[in-house]
């Protein structure tokens, strides 16, 4: 009997409690998402969303850039997300390799820092970073947001890549070196392609962490505004364009996830 058949046998008692809990959870998960999508199409008389349904419109999608500041904030968020994900990948991949493949002095200290970096509460990290920038007299703004986003993304990248690396083993790299490959070409022709799913996953994780961060960014943003900061600032009422951006990000993310799922399904055969 295969592992899968054994698993299936455990689940042979039909039962409806577990599926019921699951589907209630999904229904609750959907509530704010459906509300966001629906109200992005509702006419908003005072340019603030209201519950009363005033009629269907595409106007806010067609005039996404009309709301001053929102488009700019969105661009700042995207640029910081992409840059911070790239930088943390470039400095995080070698660090993950060092932690997984070598025993060296300071290894467990660095691993401890990675652990604390991931688990420290955002509010503390934000306050600490701002204290630091004030102490060294670095003007807060775009640069400080980027520096801090890399500082938390590196930890996520290292953890994701290290778990892939330790699952991968070193057999193929040893084979390459037995066949006379120099370490650096072997790294780029063997290790990197094998590690590609992990690289993509950690890049996407870093992108998401950066683009959605409000708490830490609120401390170190200075006069810059990112998308979450802009949305949070709209306390007197939500402009409908914000929901349009939210819907576009959601649909794009869902499509990427679907494409990724389809690719994985194909490659597994």
């Amino acid at each position: 009997m295969t592992i899968e058949e054994r698993r299936a046998r455990i689940g042979r008692r039909p039962g409806f409690v577990l599926p019921a809990i699951y589907w209630v959870v999904i229904a609750v998960t959907l509530v704010p998402i459906v509300a966001m999508i629906a109200y992005s199409f509702n006419i908003a008389p005072n340019h603030r969303i209201t519950f009363v349904w005033h009629g269907f419109t595409l106007a806010y999608y067609l005039h996404l850039t009309d709301l001053s500041g929102l488009w700019q904030a969105f661009l700042v968020s995207v640029v910081i997300a992409v840059l911070s994900a790239l930088i943390s990948l470039v400095i995080g991949l070698p660090l993950a390799l060092a932690l997984d493949r070598y025993r060296f002095r300071g290894r467990s200290l660095i691993w401890g820092i990675v652990f604390v970096d991931i688990s420290a509460p955002s509010i503390v990290v934000g306050a600490a970073s701002l204290s630091f920038f004030l102490t060294i007299n670095l003007h807060t703004g775009f640069l400080t947001i980027l520096l801090v986003h890399v500082a938390f993304n590196v930890a996520y990248v290292v953890v994701t890549l290290r778990s892939r690396l330790s699952g991968m083993g070193t057999v193929l790299e040893e084979a390459a070196s037995d066949l006379g490959a120099r370490p650096i070409p072997a790294f780029f022709t063997i290790t990197v392609p094998l590690l590609m799913p992990g690289i993509v996953a950690s890049f996407m994780l870093a992108l998401t962490m950066s683009i959605d961060d409000y708490v830490i960014t609120s401390f170190v943003a200075g006069s810059s505004t990112t998308f979450p900061l802009f949305v949070y600032g709209a306390k007197t009422g939500m402009p409908p364009q914000v929901l349009c951006f939210g819907t576009i990000i959601f649909v794009a993310g869902a499509l990427l996830a679907l494409a990724n799922g389809a690719l994985n399904r194909k490659s597994s055969f």
Binding site: A128, A254, G261
Partner: protein, 293 residues
Amino acid sequence: MRLRRWRRMSVPYALALLGSAWMIVLFLIPLISQLSVSLMTGDPEQGYNLTWNFGIYAELFGPGAAVPYALFLGRALLFGGAATLITILVGYPVAYFLAFRVPRRWKTPLLSLVVMSLLVSFIIRTYMWGFILGGHGPILTWLRALHLAGPDFHILDTAGAVIGGLAYNSFPYMVLPIYAVLERIDPRTFEAAADLYASPRVGFFRTTLPLSRAGIFSGILLVFIDSVGDPVNSQLLGGKTTYMIGQAIQDSYLIQQQYNVASALSAVLMLALGVILFAYARFFGTENIEDLV
């Protein structure tokens, strides 16, 4: 020869250099130097000087404190703890369902539905909940129309709304690690339990639950820490009676600009979280901490 050996020895340090330097300079040093900021006195106009003012901790958390920060911290720990408990009680059955009751090809799609909310900006999600549960929202409108709620009944500005918001926002972070450990359990374990005449209930409490301890602990780390420090849910879904330590840190830094107060508050928050999680790890026992990340 010696040069070659030296070069080999230095490889891991060269690889680790940039990544660890970035974390040390921009994460670890700020975190530690914040402790010294808390011991400074001064004001934003004149600047702050290190005067080793340990008294600030007694001033902020002692019995005669002008602002009840101890209450805000206690409330945050209580709300964060309640939200964590809810995510475990609801998230564990969901993870169990996905790991054991779903055919293989449906696992990824059904798991994606659980984490779907992460594709929507955290602030928009929370704001939409406020919009739906608010005084003019559909829920209260219907409840009033059915005479199930009086005109003064409200959902927002209550502890329940804030705890619910915290639980909703961190739910996927509880399900994912529990699902990951459940998936790794060897099904022969259950057969062994059944062969030894364990009833399904006993089998669950003696095999499955203990084997998923590490996943629950990672979930608690992720959910509890960020819920306790969160300033957003209590701001958007709560009111004066739900003011939490995260908001206090943010306000004293960004509005009142009392850097020493904010630093002292976050130092105490870190300490409280550290003590609670350490006690939990000791009490329930957990494996190598490296496995948890």
